[in-house]
Symmetry: C2
Subunit: 178 residues, 2 copies
């Protein structure tokens, strides 16, 4: 009755809980990991991570322990609780069973493509094609970085979608070319 909440938060909570499930960490560490390894999957910012960890703590999904090494800044180590494990499982099942809307900013322009002269339209779309090719290369490269890990599933899916996008674009350009 009080849940529901945006898909956004659920997705981020799932991410944090999933990361904490492998081992307990403090916020800085978590955000660092996300930025360095998961940049293609999410782009959570630092204050957001801290805020969500605090919220997960207040919800009883993670425990908070303050540690300090020598004179370094004290850090809050978060560990997932049994309640957190349960929440994680629920969120995971829900997330896996659902497919997002797939709405993209780039769709709007396509509707008005006729406004441009064919030659110019083709020029724009070719720049886009180059961007797509670059992204595909980047994904292929980063797949090597995550061997046998679940992250590869997400990257694989992205790869498949990007290939489809590229192929569609190439066909469309060919159709438009005078």
């Amino acid at each position: 009755m009080m849940s529901e909440g945006g898909r956004g938060m659920d997705e981020r909570a799932l991410l944090l809980l999933g990361i904490l499930r492998s081992h307990s960490q403090h916020g800085y560490q978590i955000h660092d990991f996300i930025e360095k390894n998961l940049s293609r999957v999410t782009d959570m910012k630092k204050p957001t991570a801290y805020m969500l960890l605090d919220r997960l703590h207040r919800a009883g999904y993670v425990s908070e322990t303050v540690e300090q090494e020598g004179n370094r800044p004290p850090r809050k180590v978060y560990a997932i609780t049994p309640a957190g494990e349960a929440a994680f499982a629920d969120l995971l099942r829900e997330n896996l069973a659902q497919t997002g809307p797939l709405r993209q900013a780039s769709d709007v322009g396509l509707m008005f493509l006729d406004y441009l002269a064919p030659a110019e339209a083709v020029a724009c779309l070719e720049r886009r094609l180059a961007m797509l090719a670059a992204e595909i290369a980047a994904i292929t490269a980063s797949q090597v970085q995550h061997p046998g890990c679940g992250v590869n599933l997400a990257l694989e899916r992205h790869h498949a979608l990007l290939l489809a996008d590229r192929d569609w674009l190439a066909r469309t350009i060919a159709r438009l070319r005078p």
Copy 2:
């Protein structure tokens, strides 16, 4: 120095200007059109549309004329100005040449797929597959509604992406099945 603005606004401004380019309309009419015909491309809400139209007006991209028929509520008819046409062209070129990030909530779950027993994971993904199939059918149906119009380009692209997503999912399920 004061521009930049999120991609979000640009995309919506492009949409509104593009709609007004075909003919002048008032806000209610525009939002109605979006809701009825463009629900797959965007989901702009009514207050957002009014707010943006007001902003476009203050920026000089559209003119505002108050009309009233009998005792009905007065309405503000917006028409695109020469400055608006120029802005539209710029936004369109920029939008066409760019490809969005393609980040989806559903990617997070895939990273943690190993947590579930294979049988359960497959069950979740099969529900997702069914959703995808339904969306594909819906898109195919709505393509018929927009004959020869630019909207079909966006729908076509969606269709291609959804097919790729479905095929990838089907392959993944087959690989997971024990």
